[in-house]
Subunit: 316 residues, 2 copies
């Protein structure tokens, strides 16, 4: 089988064309291509889908443009709390972490949980103790995660909150789109095995240990060789309530839908009906790729076995 | 519509007949009946399913026999970390909390998250800050959660771990059954609305901020008027990987299965095939009830509109 392929996203939301300069666009496209090539390299050399999605996500975690790892958004308290998940479609083994503060590459800790823990989801300081016990080094200086762009986003969010409190208007989800972002990857390897990985800093100004859909198996991340691999991005609360990623798998398995139809139904109709905004990247064993989103834009791209590479930000 | 009904579980696992004295059995049955009657009272008086499942779970949280609230199991560090989730089948609104340490009734905090937060899943100290900000009092003295029975379970688990470390045998899930437990309830009210609630102390000797299936929407808890309400119990890692509760809903919606068939397939075949041990209580809008489990026993019971009440522990 040589239909190997990888698809990635770098977050969905309100990405206004008017705010997108040619320089910015070039930087994002460059980041997406770098991530795709990292994953593609693994697949081309005969590596496993699980290693390819890890490599692709790792690349975006290291890139300050994306809301994961370096460049993650700030919490209400001005800290960073990151979530990540990785799932192997061969065995449905999975590792996930939530609300970790001092992990440079959350996706590597999620992988460590998958490989070395009898549990699948660890959170907070406990997850960090697990990291240390398994030889991972914690980030000493939280300044590592600091970026001017994200700091300004937090200040803007805090000011807006203050204005709303004065005006006594209730906070709602309507402007969440510009506060979010996630990175994710799905892949099928030369053996036809599937995998998915997702990583995120969550929402700007989030509080109270909020966990979104990213580390939730079946919501933000899912992979099963019998159906598909999915990584979601968007307002996590709605993605969780819709059990979005597993819903796609169920539509394929139980209703015999194609990947494309299942992705369109799950995102464009069902997520929209719930009032949620976001998108997915998804792949099946034949190398079909779906990348629907109902937000204004989604950083996304794919790379196929023959080396064909494509990226996009806005709706065509 | 007068087919209102409630079904509950108080955990599944290795419940050996030989260790069950008549006194113990009487106490458990008494606890189950008390919980059922608390939920039934709400339904009989025309209350909502969401309030009925909350009342039923609250009753078991207050009962030291069950692994939730008072009577919750100990973590590796000798503390208590509790998870809970509540979901309304009318709106699919949901509230969940994970790894909270000082909440007397986790199900009430989950409900508060559902009613008052723009988020659906909060964890750890952040969740406790949310509780305080919304007028909830924290448990001052963690001794409140201390029970001799659970303390002895932890000591036994720690000794076993030491022996295994010496013998250099890898920890596996084979004896998890006697370390776990969860409480949960599902109900249909006089309006035909569904709801589900689940609460747990997790696994004895758990570590590293482990989160199980209980607070995960679609894994341990799910409710949707179009299909069913489900609360699961068992080894959470497998229930999460199988997205058990939502899988039942998907089988009903997409394959037109009955509640009973969907529950049997999801638990007796699919969970068993994954290697997982546990069970569910589930209900549909017609008041059908399913309570399959593949473990040796499951504390369980139901109560119907006409006042008929039944409880059971072992397989009949």
């Amino acid at each position: 089988m040589s239909n190997f392929a990888i698809a990635i996203h770098g977050g969905a939301g309100t990405i206004l064309r008017i705010e997108m300069t040619p320089e910015k666009e070039k930087a994002y496209v460059g980041g997406l291509r770098e991530s795709l090539q990292a994953g593609y390299g693994v697949l081309r050399d005969g590596g496993a889908a699980i290693d390819a999605v890890q490599a692709a996500v790792l690349s975006m975690e290291e890139n300050p443009l994306f809301n994961a790892g370096k460049g993650a958004v700030f919490t209400h308290e001005g800290t960073h709390e990151q979530d990540a998940c990785i799932m192997d479609g061969v065995t449905r083994n999975v590792g996930a972490i939530a609300a970790v503060r001092r992990i440079r590459n959350p996706i590597l800790l999620a992988r460590l949980v998958m490989d070395k823990s009898q549990h699948v989801l660890l959170c907070g300081e406990g997850a960090e103790r697990f990291a240390v016990a398994n030889g991972m080094t914690l980030v000493d200086d939280p300044k590592y995660f600091w970026t001017e762009h994200r700091w300004n986003q937090l200040q803007k969010a805090l000011e807006k909150e203050k204005r709303e409190a004065k005006a006594n208007t209730r906070l709602d989800h309507s402007d969440d789109q510009d506060k979010i972002g996630t990175v994710g990857a799905v892949a099928v390897d030369q053996q036809g095995n599937l995998a998915a990985a997702t990583s995120t800093g969550g929402m700007t100004n989030k509080r109270h240990g909020r966990i979104g859909d990213t580390p939730i198996i079946g919501a933000g991340t899912y992979a099963d060789n019998r159906t598909c691999a999915v990584s979601a991005t968007g307002v996590g609360e709605f993605i969780m309530r819709g059990v979005l990623a597993y819903d796609m798998a169920a539509l394929m398995e139980y209703k015999r839908m194609s990947l494309i139809d299942a992705a369109n139904l799950a995102v464009m109709e069902k997520l929209t009906a719930l009032g949620g905004s976001g998108g997915v990247v998804a792949i099946d064993r034949d190398g079909h790729i779906a990348m629907p989103f109902n937000s204004e834009g989604m950083y996304r791209g794919f790379m196929l076995a023959d080396g064909k590479i494509e990226t996009a930000i806005f709706r065509e």
